[in-house]
């Protein structure tokens, strides 16, 4: 089923749009940085990039469910992320655990609900490359992570995607590269997650790729630290997922490729506090078989520097 109002946009057009916006930002006089991007990882592992973080993410999906029935999913996630700098500016560990609240309304059928704490995720970020110049830094980090099976994963009557946990131990490897100038910042990341079987079901491996441009709107000239700061972001967030496997068999109605355009805003009022909001608008969704498609997601959150 095609989603009303959701057009497929050719990748060429997306690239052109991003290039035009990028050129506009680059051409702003006295272009000179901003906070960490909201959806994309930053390679700068200092300051707010490694602050304690939490946000409310609301995900709205609708369309055909496997089997052809229509459905609508409303999911809310509230992760808590706590960093620990093992070696400042070189190695950081982050523990993250989401609180989840999901409601799946099936047309002419029941509403399935589940809520509680999701699986614990541990991430490590290692500073791989750093080149600093006056008012400019270029950095790259290596990302490694493991998701443990800590949440309930076998609540009866619910399909695997509606469970709080996956019942599996999954591994993530990736990298992030950032180039941050005085007022503009460019960010990218690439992460591959190897998913394993839990309770007879194996979610497909995923590849996340993200690109972001950040622009410090205010102040125009940042004289002395600290000063109140307003930042704008434009991000491209891509997700490619392989098909799931159930008892060794590929699940036809699973996996696919999604691309989101994510404008965001960030306000830094204090040395130790940051507030941010971002909307993810799907611009390309090529999902296998019958699956719910994302209508939109939005995120409202804060970061707090502990040390």
């Amino acid at each position: 089923m095609k989603m009303p109002g959701l057009r497929r946009i050719r990748p060429g057009r997306i690239c052109l749009s991003v290039s035009v916006i990028g050129l506009f930002l680059v051409s702003v006089p006295e272009s000179s940085a901003q906070g960490p991007p909201i959806q994309t990882d930053t390679a700068l592992i200092t300051g707010f990039s490694v602050a304690a973080r939490s946000f409310l993410q609301v995900i709205e999906k609708s369309g055909d469910l496997p089997g052809g029935e229509e459905g609508r999913l409303s999911a809310k996630m509230l992760p808590i992320m706590l960093p620990y700098q093992i070696r400042p500016n070189h190695l950081v560990l982050i523990a993250a655990m989401p609180y989840m609240d999901m409601d799946l309304k099936i047309k002419n059928g029941p509403t399935l609900s589940n809520s509680g704490w999701g699986d614990l995720r541990l991430l490590a970020e290692y500073n791989l490359y750093q080149k600093d110049a006056p008012r400019l830094t270029t950095r790259a980090i290596l990302i490694g992570g493991v998701k443990l099976s800590t949440a309930e994963d076998d609540k009866s009557g619910l399909p695997p995607p509606m469970q709080l946990g996956t019942g599996s131990t999954d591994y993530t490897v990736g990298t992030a590269v950032s180039r941050i100038g005085h007022r503009l910042g460019y960010y990218s990341d690439l992460k591959y997650t190897i998913k394993n079987k839990g309770n007879g079901y194996e979610f497909g491996d995923t590849l996340n790729y993200d690109l972001a441009v950040g622009y410090r709107l205010l102040p125009g000239i940042y004289e002395s630290y600290p000063a109140k700061q307003l930042n704008l972001f434009l991000e491209l967030n891509g997700l490619y997922a392989q098909k799931d496997r159930s008892n060794g068999q590929k699940v036809h109605d699973s996996g696919g490729h999604s691309l989101f355009l994510s404008p965001g805003i960030q306000f830094i009022p204090l040395k130790t506090a940051l507030f941010e909001a971002s909307v993810q608008i799907p611009i390309f969704q090529d999902l296998n078989g019958d699956q719910l498609k994302t209508d939109y997601t939005y995120l409202i959150g804060f970061r707090w520097l502990l040390y």
């Binding site: 901003q34 750093q130 600093d132 110049a133 400019l136 830094t137 941050i180 630290y225 600290p226």
Partner: protein
Amino acid sequence: MLNMKISSILILASFLWIAAALPAAADPHPESTVIVQVDGLSCPFCAFGLEKKLSKLPGAQSVAIKVDQGVAELTFAPGSRIDEDRIREAVRAGGFTPREIRILKPEAESPPQAESPTGTRP
């Protein structure tokens, strides 16, 4: 004997008067200002760590980070020993790259030298 006492009092009074008249800059251990050029200081949001590391340096009284200029300006307490290596180490630990370090001597210790008419120092 009386003359000697009067002379002594006069000498002491003169000494005290001269001492009182000396400017405060004559303090043998005035505070020092250090300006550190910090490369990579492009993001104000990450200056928090740098400020904390520099503030922990022995004798550091204040730290001002001038993002637009890419410098950190430190003030050290009178009598503090300024260790450039430790400053560089603190900048690196804060996540950035230290470049030139300038120690601004107080005027009384190093008065500015006058330029000669030809532009060269006498």
